[in-house]
């Protein structure tokens, strides 16, 4: 098992943050994920690609137990975060989600002020108690999400009044404000225009300094641009997993190759 080091020390590129073993996911009687084994490294951007409906979101939601909120969903197998099984009975999914944050496909800011959106997590977890501490967390998170300069003069206006790209960055700020160790992003750019997309991608690159980032995307260019590791899913199976470069230049599996060259869609 791995030591849980707060890695302010030298970046250990090969430290494995999340290890999934033999994961099966069912919705009722239909199986959405079959026999998935994957090791997600710390301080790395890992992208999940694959045709729609292949189970990328489903697998991603297993990593912070968001699937618990779907009644019909059942997860089997083992998912280890820093060596501890996150589906063990004594694990509290609520605390797990504070460590493994998530950004959704559609920006979903709360109908509250920008400030309250970002302060939501820290307040709930008691991470910042005084007004000054919260102010600091909010500013830091918004800066990290590259949104600070645009909103610093209107922190008390509703977060829902921002543009789509700004809303998504606000959601990223909200997710990083709880200082998670892993950040899951489910197609975070699918509702954004190219400029906003570029901003978010830049952000993801920044974020990997501190977190392990897992991003689902249907854009292969995006996967190639932002990620170091890529996993290709097809019909609920993890077909191929490896360095992004290798996957895109020299895929081992013919299905990966067909998808990358545009023959499976």
């Amino acid at each position: 098992m791995f030591d849980v080091q707060k890695p302010e020390t030298a970046v250990d590129q090969t430290a494995i943050k999340i290890a999934a073993r033999n994961v099966q996911v069912f919705y009722g009687n239909t199986q959405a994920i079959k026999d998935v084994d994957v090791d997600i490294q710390d301080k790395t951007v890992t992208s999940f690609i694959g045709p729609s409906g292949c189970g990328k979101s489903t697998f991603l939601r297993c990593l912070n137990r968001m699937n618990d909120t779907i009644d019909s969903c059942r997860v089997e197998g083992e998912i280890l975060l820093d060596g501890q099984d996150i589906y063990a009975p004594r694990v509290d999914p609520v605390q797990l989600r504070a460590r493994v944050g998530m950004v959704f496909q559609k920006p979903n800011p709360f109908p509250k002020s920008i400030y309250d959106n970002v302060a939501y997590g820290p307040r709930i977890h008691g991470m910042a108690r005084t007004k000054d501490e919260i102010d600091e967390v909010v500013e830091k998170s918004l800066r990290r999400a590259a949104l600070w300069d645009e909103v610093k003069d209107r922190l008390d206006t509703p977060g829902t009044g921002l543009s789509g790209g700004q809303q998504q960055r606000l959601c990223i700020a909200r997710a990083v404000a709880t200082r998670p160790e892993v950040l899951l992003m489910d197609e975070p750019c699918s509702a954004l225009d190219p400029i906003a997309t570029a901003q978010v991608e830049e952000l993801i690159d920044e974020l990997k300094q501190r977190f392990s980032v897992v991003i689902v995307t249907h854009s292969m260019q995006q996967a190639a641009r932002v990620s170091q590791k890529t996993a290709f899913f097809h019909l609920g199976n993890l077909v191929e997993y490896g360095d992004t470069n290798t996957i895109f230049t020299n895929p081992q599996d013919h299905r990966t190759e067909s998808y990358i060259t545009g023959r499976i869609g």
Binding site: D71, V94, Q95, F104, F110, P111, I124, P158, R174
Partner: protein, 458 residues
């Protein structure tokens, strides 16, 4: 006769539809490109015939009695109505009408019998006239719309225009009915204030509307201070909301967020049954169960408790309002997008935090709207308080005392001897006006709150 007119109308509509449809088809089969589909040409004819003719029949039926009565009255022998008041004339006319209907009491004078015959004849005539006019108008409209059929005629737009006009007139009818109701209320209220000074009513603390009807009756002068009645309504409504709001909201949250599907499947229908119970039955419940329970509870502590307490009426009214609030809150919670809940859970919030910090604030407009509508209902609710609250107006906010409400007083004022020119009866209208203004204010407030939150949350 009226039936015949409607049959003619229906036939004209169908024939007009078919004729235009056929004609349009013929043009299309001739190879011309039509602007509108054949169905629209048919529909245009049907509507063109239906709407004006139907309107004519309705207007005819509404006014025929007035017109006929006027003619009969004008035809009465000179002198028989001389020097009689409006009330007496009305009595005579209704006697003539009942003779015409075959109900003869005693031996009426000859001129009344003659007038009755006149009336019957006029009615007969009016019926035939209606049929004739209907037939004429319907066929004219059929003819006009048949003439319009042509390749370039915009029947589709025509149909839409007519339907649009119909919708507008329905809206106008609704508005006018409202205005009419308010106006009649206002009219009687003004008459009341001609007899009782405005400020005595609004600020008076004494409500004793029993006025002597005959000179020799011994009764109080009659006092019309609405404050105690108004206060009674507020006390009961407050008790009702005090019970209904927390229970309704919490049950909605439980059902929406925590209950398993099985529990939900049982509890929701039960709540709906609760909403369907007639208020009279709630009244029984208040009298037979709640009031004795409160009384024996009070006896244990040596508290003297009135037989009709505000608490009994208010709490039963609260029970009545639970499903109302709960279903509003349930809808409001259901309308909050799932993505918000997911977003909150994903930063590690518990379900309770998610509900109280995200779902509830987002659902507030709907919930507040529901609560305020419930308040309106509590204020206007009549049956439960008539049965379970008292009749005597007391200036008190003690829930264990007997109070009366605006609605109860309206009912008691209008039961029994009702001469529509005594302040006792007219006071009912003034109270009705108070009730109307109260609920109007609450509804405006509800709208404002909802709009304010919309601005914040959109």
């Amino acid at each position: 006769m009226t039936l015949l007119a409607f049959v003619i109308l229906l036939a004209a509509v169908v024939i007009g539809y078919v004729m235009n449809l056929r004609a349009a088809r013929a043009i299309r089969d001739g190879g011309t490109r039509m602007h509108s589909l054949e169905g629209f040409h048919g529909g245009y004819a049907a509507l063109m015939t239906l709407v004006p003719t139907f309107f004519l029949i309705i207007v005819w039926l509404l006014f025929q009695d007035t017109v006929i009565t006027a003619i009969v009255k004008a035809g009465l022998p000179a002198g028989v109505l001389g020097g009689k008041g409006t009330g007496e004339v009305q009595l005579i006319m209704s006697e003539i009408r009942s003779i015409a209907g075959g109900r003869i009491f005693g031996t009426p004078e000859d001129w009344k019998l003659e007038a009755a015959e006149h009336l019957v004849a006029l009615r007969e005539l009016s019926g035939w006239l209606l049929v004739a006019v209907t037939a004429a108008l319907a066929s004219a409209m059929m003819y006009i719309s048949r003439r319009t059929v042509a390749a370039e005629f915009r029947a589709r737009q025509g149909v839409e225009r007519i339907l649009h006009g119909l919708m507008v007139s329905c809206a106008v009818v609704a508005i006018f009915v409202t205005i009419g109701i308010v106006a009649s209320l206002l009219f009687e209220t003004i008459r009341f204030f001609q007899m009782v000074p405005f400020w005595d009513f609004v600020l008076g603390t004494n409500w004793e509307p029993q006025i002597p009807i005959r000179e020799d009756q011994v009764a109080a002068e009659g006092a019309f201070g609405m404050l105690p009645v108004f206060l009674g309504t507020l006390v009961i409504a407050f008790i009702a909301m005090f019970i209904a709001t927390p229970i309704g909201l919490l049950s909605a949250v439980y059902l929406h967020e925590f209950a398993s599907r099985r529990v939900r499947g049982v509890v929701k229908p039960v709540l709906e049954v609760l909403a369907g119970v007639p208020t009279v039955v709630y009244g029984f419940f208040a009298i037979l169960v709640i009031a004795p329970a409160i009384r024996s509870f009070g006896d244990n502590f040596g508290l003297p408790i009135a037989p009709n307490t505000a608490l009994a009426a208010g709490s039963v009214m609260g029970i009545m309002l639970i499903p109302f609030i709960s279903s509003f809150a349930d809808d409001a919670l259901g309308a909050v997008p799932r993505s918000l809940r997911d977003g909150s859970l994903a930063v590690g919030a518990t379900q309770a935090e998610t509900i109280s910090k995200v779902l509830f604030p987002a659902a507030i407009p709907g919930i507040v709207g529901g609560i305020l509508l419930a308040v309106s209902r509590a204020i206007g609710e009549t049956m439960i308080v008539v049965m379970a609250a008292g009749l005597i107006a007391k200036m008190t906010i003690n829930p264990l005392d007997s109070v009366t409400t605006v609605t109860v007083q309206i009912v008691t004022l209008l039961i029994g001897d009702t001469a529509f020119d005594s302040p006792k009866t007219l006071a009912a209208f003034a109270l009705g006006m108070v009730l109307f203004l109260m609920t109007l204010c609450i509804n405006i407030l509800a709208l404002r709150i909802v709009r304010k939150y919309r601005e914040i949350y959109d």
